[in-house]
């Protein structure tokens, strides 16, 4: 009785899923390109005061207005986007690599599983923003500390996903067959298990990138992230928060830029996983 329903719905959903896929990919791609090219196409040096007025609105001279010191927001945005995307991307890669490695090790069971699970439970039990505050209070706010903290906070999530996925696959017949064939553990993990969990892991990676971006922006917004004179998107919001009272573009544009990046990534993940599930059926 349940089967006809998804079958009937699939043809109608296909074009919509394609649309969100392309939209999400475009937004994420746009920010990636901006992170790479941004500083080269910036019209002004990001730290230079170029406007006599402060918080001036959008004009032909300053396409996104100017900030609390009279600096060009467009130029600052282009540099800030690179900080946000690069830091979040590196932290996510580190978190995913550590999480997947530990997850695959833990999936083979025994005492490594017990120790790793308890360890990551502990990290998880400290609220993430709180954890960031403690680490940065102790070590100071530098880009390295920032990346390390972000990666550490989101390793447990990647660990859990990888472990659960690997446990599911390990129970399947072809792994038993490989084991019976006498293959070594690295071969089984890399050639038998990993290719079968790559799709869900990619979705998890995207989701973790969203979380990392949000936490990084939150930390920067509290003044604990990227330190002046440099600024990421969250720090731009913090700098210009005084302009909120009269709706200055200097505070709104960076805030919505973060939102567009994270929403775009979410759209991409949703559409991609919907498509993968549709394809397997």
């Amino acid at each position: 009785m349940n089967t006809p329903v998804p079958a009937a719905r699939t043809p109608r959903k296909r074009p919509q899923s394609n649309f969100t896929l392309i939209l999400g990919a475009c937004i994420v791609g746009f920010w990636l390109v901006m992170a790479i090219l941004g500083p080269m196409i910036a019209p002004h040096p990001p730290g230079q005061v170029v406007d006599l007025d402060v918080f001036s609105p959008i004009s032909s001279r300053f396409p996104l207005g100017s900030d609390y010191l009279g600096r060009d927001i467009l130029s600052r945005m282009l540099v800030a986007a690179r900080y946000t995307v690069a830091i979040a991307l590196i932290a996510t890669v580190v978190a995913a690599a550590c999480g997947i490695f530990c997850g695959l090790v833990a999936a083979s069971g025994g005492w490594p599983d017990a120790i790793l699970s308890k360890l990551f439970d502990t990290v998880n039990a400290i609220p993430s923003l709180m954890f960031g505050l403690v680490v940065i209070a102790s070590l100071g706010a530098s880009t390295t500390v920032l990346i390390g903290t972000l990666a550490l906070v989101y390793t447990p999530g990647a660990f859990r996903t990888a472990r659960a996925l690997a446990l599911n696959v390990t129970a399947l017949d072809f792994v038993t067959v490989a084991r019976a064939r006498g293959e070594r553990l690295p071969y089984i993990v890399l050639r038998e298990i990993l290719p079968n969990v790559l799709g869900p892991l990619a979705a998890d990676f995207g989701l973790r990138f969203v979380f990392v971006t949000l936490l990084l922006s939150g930390l920067s917004f509290l003044g604990l992230g990227v330190q002046p004179p440099n600024a990421d998107l969250g720090a731009l919001v913090r700098e210009n928060i005084a302009g909120l009272g009269f709706g200055a573009s200097a505070v709104l544009v960076p805030a919505f830029a973060i939102a567009s990046l994270t929403i775009g990534m979410n759209l991409l993940i949703d559409a991609a996983s919907a498509r993968r599930q549709g394809g397997s059926r």
């Binding site: 039990a125 609220p127 505050l133 003044g223 909120l244």
Partner: protein
């Protein structure tokens, strides 16, 4: 019952590991508290004297035992910067943070449960799609964006509410509403979105199961189907969803208190970080982690008690 005891034991073990982690992270700090207090021009004798007075000359494990033992007996230590007992500094702040979080929870839990269940029951409808889109948008946006947009609309454009809140000048119910409206709304917004998504998933799972299918074929009315057949089995996952969302509230409260200049415990923490007041930071971090573990453990226990198969083990 044994299962419940094991969960509580596990939570206590995690709390112990958290305290170890928090303590050892603060050991990593370059320099020590005595240098921070006396400054660079302090004589070595003065430094040594202060270190002895603060027990900093003892090995780290005795200091950990002293600190953890103090926490257990309610001696939270004194702040490095103000010299006041931490318990006195935290007390009123904690109360006002709990007020804020409590109000947000009170608003968000019923709304989220209702919308989540409706979305699951009317799966695939326009309403469900609209709710899904809205929750995805809210979940993937930083808290401070929601807060700034709320300030922009309600304080700057419409002049309905004050942009800053402090619980000091409250003389009537309307004052109370005006002060709390925006922080609570912003906080609730974030939590509700998360909770709707998880509740919807839990109820959808229950509705997909074969016993609900059987009940449907038996001709049970739709409302009875949801309330009597599906919901009791979704209580565990829903309790889990509530606990996890409320733990998001713990993080959200930090940003919200800073934006609205609300005198709560999270702002105390942020200020402590900028002055590097480690005893205060450690204590507040422990309070947050303990609260999180409490929420998760309660959800676990509710899940066990609501499931007859686990209850009688």
């Amino acid at each position: 019952m044994r299962l419940v005891a094991r969960r509580i034991g596990g939570a206590l073990l995690t709390l112990f590991l958290v305290s170890l982690a928090v303590f050892s992270i603060s050991l990593l700090m370059g320099g020590d508290a005595a240098e921070a207090i006396l400054g660079q021009s302090a004589t070595p004798e003065a430094l040594a004297g202060l270190r002895a007075a603060m027990h900093l000359d003892q090995p780290s494990y005795t200091r950990y035992l002293a600190w953890a033992g103090g926490l257990l007996r309610g001696h939270l230590g004194t702040s490095l910067i103000t010299g006041l007992p931490i318990a006195d500094m935290i007390g009123p702040r904690l109360a006002s943070s709990l007020q804020l979080a409590g109000l947000a929870a009170l608003v968000s839990v019923p709304v989220a449960l209702a919308l989540g269940i409706i979305a699951a029951v009317k799966r695939g409808s326009m309403l469900d799609r609209a709710i899904s889109m809205a929750t995805i948008a809210v979940v993937s946006v930083p808290e401070f964006l929601i807060a700034t947009v709320a300030v922009l609309i309600f304080a700057v454009t419409l002049h309905w509410l004050p942009a800053l809140s402090s619980s000091r000048d409250i003389y009537s119910i309307t004052d109370l509403v005006r002060v709390f409206a925006m922080p609570v709304m912003t906080l609730a917004c974030v939590v509700v979105a998360q909770m709707i998504r998880m509740t919807r998933a839990a109820v959808c799972d229950a509705l997909d199961s074969s016993y609900v299918e059987a009940a449907r074929l038996k001709g049970v009315s739709p409302s009875r189907l949801v309330l009597r057949h599906a919901l009791p089995n979704a209580i565990g996952p829903i309790a889990n969803a509530i606990a996890l969302s409320l733990s998001i509230l713990l993080g959200g409260v930090i940003v919200i208190e800073v934006i609205f200049n609300y005198p709560g415990i999270a702002r105390l923490m942020v200020d402590a970080v900028s002055t590097r007041d480690l005893p205060l930071i450690q204590t507040v971090a422990m309070i947050f982690s303990a609260t999180y573990l409490l929420l998760v453990t309660i959800a676990d226990i509710v899940a066990i008690l609501s499931n007859p198969r686990l209850r009688h083990r």
